[in-house]
Symmetry: C2
């Protein structure tokens, strides 16, 4: 069933120990929608400038992604550049040129409004909330946020996530949001803020799902080479939500089966791991569903006892 | 079947965000043997000073630990003191008084020499090697080491682990030993140094087993409170080897069943997690096998998909 994804479409400049790319397709919405497109039909809401390349439109289209909500305005596309540490656990932002993204005010085409799934990438909480309000009959809504909104837009963020089914954030963000270092207690506090489902991403160490009084932990896939971790968290989100949409999970009908959420976390982990294997979105250019399902089985094999 | 454990028996001074203890029973041999004692009969080889308290001997005896190889010499017992950071991921050593441990030269009582299992705690590699040479017919031998020996006693360490079945070290030590940041490639290099089995401990993030061309990953147990992480890695080693000894695994007879090693890693993780729940060895004073097996089932429950 169809999934609406809202967030940034950008150009990134990335340097890792494996190389450097001055300018390549990036942005949360891009990674989420590409990852999700292997599971379900995806409609994106984003804004780009008039410098946005035809080949990048073509890539998104080739994955069947609906671009009716991709606004094109005069000016330059959001540009971000960063460089990773030798072990790739830290990165330094070198450039953030918001450009046309500074005035992003997501408007949903009428054809999007009845989509049953909505995934809100990391943008200002008030904008995320505004998108939610434009939807009719959404079954399942959730998203991501970041330290900046948690620290400086706390009330706005809390009003926003109160309406979400799930929140998907990393461990340091979870700790900051809850004001609690211990992840188990932090998760309890966050589940009191609205979402019934919380996924905490831990980078190379995997992820934790909290839902229905249970938790589920999965280690990160042990890659032989991490070429570029940019977008791995967003690809996780795309795989997670893409799988739920594919399965047609409907929480309004009491249809949240915890086991399905666990499988969604594995598919999220699978997509995050593939993302790191090449620069930018390159791994998604010719990834196949057979490879995805193969890696899902690998997760089973290396965690089973 | 019986297990010989060699290493330090010490007094520790520990400060964590949960409190401070000036002096309590500690040392690698202590944690390993207490943890292993829940699975198999344990014989220890260690040295203490004449200040070693009767109540500490009584605790070890109460767990059925054979103390024939616990040498008592004039002087003071090894003393270590350290303080943990707020998140307990770092610690600073405040005091290391080797005392009688400085002249430790482990000698095995004759009754120990035919024990089928040998676990060598972190001591100078040449001493570990000397202990190995005193054993007859040992089926399964392995141990721990640390950054100091890896950096400054590399050749001695390599000659020592060449004779081991397994090496059990943490991730930064594995990287240092292999000269390789990527854990998957580091593991391949280490498995070329002698041991057929490698366990990499990752603290709160769990552990990875490499053996027989396969790997197995387990996340760390999500504790509500970590009171004191001191000894968690040694408790892991005790649970890991204790379980293998209990099961009677014999690699000389081609008896290394990978699935059993996976279960041993879980029992190691279980014992490491219990260790953190109280200061020092306190959690082991009245822990039961039923609690241990209960937590094993919890690992199953929170990792299954």
């Amino acid at each position: 069933m169809s999934l609406v994804v809202v967030g940034s479409v950008a150009y990134d400049g990335v340097e890792t120990p494996h190389g450097k790319v001055e300018r390549m397709l990036g942005g949360a919405c891009t990674y989420i929608s590409l990852a999700a497109s292997f599971f379900t039909s995806v409609k994106i809401v984003a804004v780009v400038g008039d410098d946005f390349a035809q080949e990048d439109l073509d890539l998104l289209r080739s994955r069947g992604i609906d671009l009716e909500g991709l606004e094109r305005v005069p000016g330059k596309t959001f540009y971000w550049a960063g460089t990773y540490s030798a072990d790739m656990n830290d990165r330094v932002t070198l450039t953030t040129d918001l450009n046309v993204f500074a005035d992003f005010n997501p408007k949903l085409p009428p054809s999007y409004r009845s989509a049953p799934y909505l995934l809100l990438g990391n943008i200002q909480p008030a904008l995320q909330r505004g998108v939610r309000a434009q939807m009719n009959g959404t079954r399942f809504v959730g998203g991501d946020t970041m330290n900046y909104w948690i620290r400086d837009y706390r009330d706005e963020l809390l009003a926003t996530i109160r309406e979400w089914d799930f929140l998907l954030i990393n461990d340091s963000e979870a700790r900051m949001l809850a004001g609690e270092h211990n992840l188990r207690r932090a998760a309890e506090k966050i589940l009191g803020m609205g979402p019934h489902t919380l996924v905490i991403k831990r980078g190379e160490y995997g992820a934790i799902l909290f839902q229905g009084g249970e938790h589920f932990m999965v280690p990160g896939f042990l890659l032989e080479d991490v070429f570029d971790p940019t977008g791995a968290g967003d690809s996780f989100a795309g795989g997670f939500m893409g799988y739920l949409a594919e399965r047609g999970i409907d929480p309004r009908q009491g249809d949240i089966r915890h086991q399905e959420l666990r499988r969604a976390v594995i598919y999220g982990s699978v997509m995050g791991s593939f993302c790191c294997e090449k620069f930018g979105v390159d791994r998604f250019r010719n990834l196949t569903r057979a490879e995805i399902d193969g890696r899902y089985r690998e997760f089973k094999a290396f965690t089973d006892f």
